[in-house]
């Protein structure tokens, strides 16, 4: 018994030293009008199998043709993530049989992907009250172009599977690779967690898997290198039935796609190659939009708003532009504007599940309201009421609403005296 106790307590102490190590594999669909290797259109929510080129159906004799826009998107992504762009990258075939992959292999970039060795500095709310902005750096190992598989729907009742080869999921998919180890020691055996269907489940799936692995080791077991599926109902991961044992993908170079070359600039394009036919990095660099980190810093710096607010501004599509337009059109200080944007505007949008583009109140209208408030014409509580009315009746001007609601502040002393006198006169008992 003593031995057992000693054993388990040393394991327990090991367990408490165990730390999770996580690698994320993120599949992001490229925003392009046609697919990576075929000229069929990319269309969201189309009827099944309505946008399938001969190549998508793996008809024999079809050959992949690389989509230039997709290459540009990969380079832009690599630049935004501080990666080294490989001037030469290669395509490979990854073989496995699955009904949603008609060719029996997927074209990917395993040997030499288009971008490597990047990093992402991200910030999050931490500290005791979770109101401190902390920042971390995560390594981006590589970015690779790859073919998407089709969609499969399992009909268990009829014991059949239906396949849609349109291949436009339109979402971000994440697989998590998780292992645990004691810091300083070699990495533990990892498992792959799939079927994480939304961003909010990523953390839950990973947390569960780390705890599961710790418990297994605590009980003297070993971690098996396997693929597990996340079950959102139970919040657990379960082994996937048909992916037992190690998969050998029998990688082979894709013989129908020569090496992909991207060039620094027009000067480095070799003679005999048409510059309009190549991807040039400097052109894409110039096209890069303001990156989130840079924009957040600028918001704080230029407008003196709180860092927390800069996060929200950057994370909501179009909100920064909205905010800046209000600021441009109003005398009110940006720090006041931000309050209105964060509370009144976003509050209404969230409550009614609307997107910013659907806001009935335009930036100019909000600016108008704030100007009226600045001029002292209305009180701030009155302004909030007017805002809600503007929301309901966006065609009406601010001044009109103020009049209709009779919310104008009276600052004429004579008028005020008259009103007070009237109140006193009509309520003798109280006076």
């Amino acid at each position: 018994t003593r031995f057992m106790t000693g054993f388990s307590s040393s394991l327990a102490s090991v367990s408490s030293q165990l730390r999770g190590v996580v690698g994320l594999e993120i599949h992001a669909q490229i925003h392009a009008t046609s697919k990576l290797f075929a000229c069929s259109r990319v269309a969201f929510c189309s009827p099944p199998n309505s946008s399938v080129a001969f190549l998508d159906a793996s008809l024999p004799g079809t050959l992949p043709v690389l989509n230039r826009r997709c290459v540009e998107a990969a380079v832009i992504t690599g630049l935004a993530l501080n990666c080294t762009i490989n001037r030469k990258s290669l395509f490979d075939r990854k073989h496995y049989f699955y009904a949603d992959m008609p060719a029996g292999y997927q074209i990917t970039q395993q040997r030499l992907p288009i971008a490597v060795n990047g990093s992402l500095i991200y910030s999050y709310f931490g500290g005791r009250k979770r109101n401190q902005v902390l920042s971390r750096c995560v390594r981006i190992k590589q970015i690779q172009l790859e073919q998407d598989s089709g969609k499969s729907l399992h009909d268990d009742q009829r014991s059949q599977t239906l396949i849609d080869l349109n291949r436009a999921e339109g979402q971000l998919r994440v697989d998590a690779n998780v292992s645990v180890h004691c810091p300083g020691e070699p990495l533990g055996v990892r498992t792959e967690v799939k079927n994480i269907n939304s961003a909010r489940y990523v953390a839950r799936a990973i947390d569960y898997e780390i705890q599961r692995q710790k418990k297994v080791l605590e009980n003297g077991g070993i971690i098996v290198n396997e693929t597990r599926a996340f079950d959102s109902k139970s919040g657990t991961t379960i082994p996937m039935r048909d992916k037992e044992g190690l998969q050998d993908y029998r990688f082979m170079p894709e013989p129908n796609l020569p090496p992909l070359f991207v060039y620094e600039d027009e000067a480095s394009v070799p003679a005999g190659v048409n510059p309009t036919q190549v991807v040039m990095i400097d052109r894409l660099k110039a096209e890069l939009p303001e990156l989130p980190g840079v924009r957040r810093a600028r918001m704080v710096d230029q407008y003196k708003i709180l860092p927390e607010h800069s996060f929200t501004l950057v994370n909501e599509d179009g909100l920064t532009e909205y905010f800046e337009r209000v600021v441009r059109n109003t005398k009110a200080e940006p720090r006041k504007v931000i309050g209105w944007v964060m509370k009144e505007l976003l509050g209404n949008l969230n409550q009614q599940s609307l997107k910013l583009a659907q806001s009935p109140v335009s930036p100019e209208a909000l600016a108008d309201l704030l100007n009226v408030l600045e001029s002292g014409h209305i009180s701030s509580s009155a302004a909030k009421v007017v805002f809600q009315e503007m929301w309901k009746a966006p065609e009406k001007a601010v001044e009109q609403l103020v009049k209709e609601l009779d919310l104008g502040l009276v600052s004429d002393r004579e008028k005020l005296l008259k009103i007070c006198q009237k109140v006193v006169d009509t309520h003798p008992e109280q006076v």
Binding site: F54, A57, S58, L59, P60, G61, T62, L63, P64, V65, L66, R93, H95, F97, A99, P102, A103, G104, Y105, T161, I163, D248, R250, F251, M252, P255, N256, L257, P258
Partner: protein, 514 residues
């Protein structure tokens, strides 16, 4: 009439001495008469007559689309043809009607050529005899020729007929039996040149990347090319000019820097240096083939060309290198045949796995299956470096051998095409497909490994009355130059036109002047 060259018959069509519909009808009749050769899987009679009528209209108006307008041709059944069954001679694709045509097929159709049918082949182009097809083997038309029958001791051609070679045997038989003026084959390890040689035709394997592979159902993507079969070198050049060129749909095609569209008017063979690779003295080569090789070398020498012995030291490793890479690609390319989207689907549906396994077992013959298994083995992670990478390295060395020889001033290489003349079917099938392929591909597959152009030209009839041919190998993208030398060679040799006992005098004497 049917034994005329494309050049001659095209001139006749344009001059109005012959109508396109009459020509087409004759070819279709010929196909019917030569059914015993089993050269065709599908005969497109109605379509051909329709195309011939359209050609006739153009020709009578004096507006032909080009030198191929109205010319009947056939296509190996591993090229996709829109709405025409394309089977690859396999159960796997019985009843498969592609919704598009291969680029090279479309180019011929766009020139007004008349498609008479899809020809027989070894299943999925794997083989060197055209004996492994689900539709049965192809018979070499020379089995029925006067020259062979006179030499043969058998009375009954059914017992001693000879193979057409493979894997494009049907295409070769079609052109050699005079039911087509030209045919498309495919060439991965010699599959156009081998049957071309055994059937006494001119068969060209173009440089890899010169002709589009879009629509050619692949065997080995990094070695496959569409092949051209005709009865004269001049005809091959005409077809090459129509077919060459970059295709957007095939990323491995190249816009070659300068590509002449025809053979030059002037050619002096004294400007040429012919290399004779010593490693090509293979055991198993027949004495007659060796004699022809010597004969043609002497021809070049006497005419003033420089001839020298050269060395391609890695030749001996080529067949194994080819075999490894071929199996790897086959395993990969055949993965798409699962019965789900098209083709044969097994009735077993207890699970997806069972469906796949049964479909593939039923659909593929043992040759295809064994190559898939070998390829999967070579591609396993633990084997990849030892087999696939090693083979690619050997491939580089073989390519370098050729490059070095050409850089030393050699313009073309002269070698045999096959070990001997055509074997009897009954002898050929004594060994399995793998053994035969390894033996027969010996002179042809190094060319595919290196991606070079090569052409086979018939030189003489053997003592058995069957064609013997030799191969010329050229430099990358110098296909027209290669054909120029081949053209000169052909003119020195005067290889006979095939004759059959049942040829009528009218057919034989119908030589329409140009």
């Amino acid at each position: 009439m049917l034994s005329l060259s494309i050049g001659e018959v095209s001139a006749a069509l344009r001059k109005g001495r012959l109508s396109a519909t009459e020509l087409c009808r004759r070819c279709l009749n010929r196909i019917r008469k030569t059914r015993h050769l089993n050269a065709y899987i599908t005969v497109t009679e109605d379509l051909a007559m329709k195309q011939a009528q359209e050609a006739e209209l153009r020709l009578t108006r004096g507006k032909p689309l080009g030198p191929l307008d109205g010319i009947p041709f056939s296509v190996k059944d591993n090229f996709c043809t829109e709405n025409i069954e394309t089977t690859c001679a396999s159960h796997m694709l019985r009843g498969y009607f592609p919704p598009f045509s291969a680029t090279v097929v479309q180019k011929l159709l766009d020139q007004g050529a008349v498609l008479v049918g899809k020809t027989n082949l070894d299943e999925f182009a794997m083989g060197s005899g055209s004996t492994d097809s689900v539709f049965g083997p192809v018979r070499n038309p020379w089995s029925y020729s006067v020259s062979y029958r006179e030499q043969s001791r058998e009375q009954d051609p059914d017992s001693d007929w000879v193979i057409a070679g493979g894997s494009s045997g049907g295409s070769a038989a079609a052109v050699a039996s005079l039911s087509s003026f030209m045919a498309l084959g495919s060439d991965t390890g010699g599959s156009t040149r081998n049957p071309g040689s055994l059937c006494g035709l001119v068969a060209l394997k173009p440089t890899y990347g010169l002709l589009s592979r879009h629509g050619l159902i692949p065997l080995v993507n990094s070695m496959d090319v569409p092949g051209i079969m005709t009865r004269t070198v001049h005809d091959a050049a005409t077809v090459l000019d129509v077919l060459q060129g970059r295709d957007e749909k095939d990323s491995t095609t190249v816009e070659s820097a300068y590509s002449p569209s025809s053979l030059p008017e002037e050619f002096d063979v004294r400007d040429i240096c012919v290399g004779v690779p010593k490693e090509y003295h293979a055991p198993g080569m027949s004495a007659e083939t060796l004699a022809q090789w010597g004969r043609v070398v002497a021809l070049f020498e006497r005419a003033g060309a420089r001839v020298k012995e050269v060395s391609l030291p890695h030749t001996q490793h080529s067949i194994v290198c080819y075999h490894v890479l071929c199996c790897c690609e086959v395993a990969s390319n055949m993965a798409r045949f699962d019965g789900l989207q098209y083709g044969h689907r097994s009735k077993v549906d207890s699970s997806t796995e069972a469906l796949y396994a049964t479909t593939r077992h039923e659909g593929f013959n043992s040759v295809v299956r064994s190559r898939i298994l070998a390829g999967n083995y070579f591609l396993l992670k633990q084997n990849y470096d030892r087999y696939f990478v090693k083979a690619q390295q050997i491939r580089r060395l073989i390519t370098e051998d050729f490059r070095r020889v050409f850089q030393s001033g050699v313009d073309v290489l002269l070698t045999p095409t096959t070990l001997s003349d055509a074997a009897r079917y009954s002898d050929f099938i004594q060994e399995d497909n793998r053994t035969r392929s390894a033996q027969e591909d010996i002179f042809t597959q190094p060319v595919n490994v290196a991606g070079l152009p090569a052409v086979t030209v018939p030189t003489a009839l053997s003592s058995r009355g069957l064609p013997i041919s030799l191969q010329l190998i050229g430099q990358s993208f110098q296909d027209m130059k290669l054909l120029t030398v081949a053209n000169w060679m052909e003119q020195q040799l005067d290889f006979p036109i095939i004759r059959f006992h049942d040829d009528t005098d009218q057919e034989r004497e119908c030589k329409l002047g140009s």
